[in-house]
């Protein structure tokens, strides 16, 4: 039985250059999953960038030591496909009846195709947005779930002029992404433009009703003597029947260790 709550997927990830993989996402997550690190697949840094994975595996030198960055090919010269990588991992989860599971990406740069157990989902563009996919119907309960993510670089990675400059040729500004990656007065250009699964990946298990994005606001009166906490939430009933709910909010102050004052 799966416990209600979130599990972070930050271990056991593998990565491979898309140009070196002839299998499709469906094949990778059904009949031909990678078995572990080999000549094609390497241990991946998730969360982190493509370049972080390449540095970890000593495919390229560390760009922040000496002139290491000069030895790494820039995306403008290599082409976007050079920094387009497959990421792969597995996870297990046994749901009860009426439990639901979401696969969550807190940020990907810049777009991605997600495959889970042979099912495909496109993650749209944008470096600073969360993605949450309900994967309840495609989850496997009796064996590991196979997850592959093909991550594409920004659409406009730009080219770094010989003289450098603030934000290179400024092409990166056409996308919704970090702009420092074309170089600035304080940093050399980042060769992969920070492509990657750069923030937390998780699965979250809920019952029929899910809490989304609570909003807490306080208001103050009488020189901070009278204070009110205002709370708004979104609720999603994922089930096909009316849900009779008991919604509870509790504000506690930790007194000592695990003892709380309510």
């Amino acid at each position: 039985m799966a416990e209600i709550g979130k599990v972070v997927l930050d271990k056991g990830w593998l990565a491979a250059r898309s140009t070196e993989i002839e299998l499709t996402g469906v094949q990778l997550t059904t009949t031909n999953p990678p078995s572990g690190p080999d000549s094609t697949w390497m241990e991946a840094v998730v969360p982190g960038t493509v370049l972080a994975t390449l540095v970890k595996n000593k495919v390229v030198p560390d760009p922040f030591y000496g002139l290491g960055n000069e030895a790494i090919i820039d995306i403008a010269d290599s082409g976007r496909e050079h920094y387009t990588l497959w990421f792969f991992t597995t996870f297990e989860c046994n749901l009860l009846n009426n439990q639901h599971i979401d696969l969550n990406f807190r940020a990907i740069n810049y777009s991605a195709e997600v495959y889970l157990n042979g099912h495909k989902k496109i993650l749209p563009k944008g470096m600073f947005r969360r993605h949450s996919i309900d994967v309840t119907s495609i989850l496997l309960h009796d064996r590991p779930n196979l997850l592959a993510v093909l991550v594409h670089p920004p659409d406009h990675p730009g080219r770094i002029p010989p003289e450098g400059g603030q934000g290179g040729d400024h092409e990166i500004g056409k996308d919704v992404a970090a702009q420092y990656v074309e170089g600035w007065d304080w940093i050399a250009p980042i060769r992969d433009r920070n492509t990657g699964i750069w923030d937390e990946v998780s699965i979250s298990v809920t019952g029929p009703v899910k809490i989304v994005d609570p909003h807490l606001v306080s208001s103050f009166f009488d020189n901070y003597k009278r204070v009110y906490l205002h709370t708004t939430i979104e609720l999603v009933n994922k089930s096909a029947i009316v849900a009779e709910c008991f919604l509870n909010i509790q504000v506690a102050t930790e007194v000592e260790g695990n003892t709380c004052l309510v």
């Binding site: 209600i4 074309e182 606001v217 208001s219 009166f221 901070y224 939430i233």
Partner: protein
């Protein structure tokens, strides 16, 4: 009095907004920036149980009671801040990101932000050419009393200056920019350290983006009325 339970009936497949009745506190311990007092944090926990199923979901977050105000001083042109009614002298650090390859661990954030607090800083400005910082960054700013000035992803150098002028209308897809902005606001809005949103670095975003951001971040009229009380 700091515990509230409501019964709700949610139709099948419904996606609804729900507002709790306000919860009253008498003289709560306030959250103060580094150097002005303690960073007092309450734990807010929301749970939902469904009849016939049991616990369905839960959410919790440390929350600090604080009121941050700021305005441009007409005499100096500088921006003045008050926290909980007290003027604060801002000692700030400029921040891009914790690691150029975005290996953003909790441990690294804690070390970096504690270092800023140890330097007697009370504000970090997250530059518009870098990241909207992550929840772990904000968590440690909450803990160490560092106010955060968070900019959106517009810079003068890449958006609007130069010869020829670079990206004068900002990113190509304004709707995508605004979608990312809305989502980022929702991700970070409950952190007491979050002090100020700024459209970009040394540049005003395109008019439609700027006015939409102002609308998203406007105080709800309900709170305008309450605060004028």
């Amino acid at each position: 009095e700091h515990l509230q339970t409501q019964n709700l009936s949610l139709p099948a497949g419904a996606h609804v907004h729900y507002t709790f009745s306000e919860i009253f506190f008498y003289k709560p311990k306030l959250w103060w920036p580094n150097g002005m007092g303690k960073q007092y944090l309450y734990n807010v926990e929301i749970t939902i149980e469904v009849r016939g199923f049991g616990e369905s979901d839960l959410w919790s977050q440390p929350f600090g009671f604080r009121k941050i105000e700021n305005h441009i001083d007409s005499a100096t042109g500088g921006r003045l801040f008050k926290v909980n009614g007290e003027p604060i002298f801002i000692r700030g650090g400029n921040w891009i990101l914790s690691d150029g390859l975005l290996r953003l661990s909790k441990k690294r954030y804690q070390a970096d932000i504690k270092f800023h607090a140890d330097m007697n800083f009370n504000m970090i400005r997250c530059w518009g050419g870098g990241l909207a910082e992550r929840p772990d960054f904000y968590h440690y700013c909450d803990m160490y009393g560092i106010l955060v000035w968070q900019e959106f992803w517009i810079t003068g150098d890449v958006d609007g200056r130069g010869d020829p002028i670079s990206n004068p209308d900002g990113p190509l897809d304004h709707d995508l920019f605004l979608l990312c902005a809305r989502d980022t606001i929702k991700l970070l809005r409950n952190h007491p350290s979050l002090a100020l949103w700024v459209g970009g670095n040394e540049q005003v975003p395109p008019e439609d983006v700027n006015s939409a951001l102002k609308t998203y971040l406007k105080l709800h009229p309900y709170f305008e009325n309450l605060n004028s009380d």
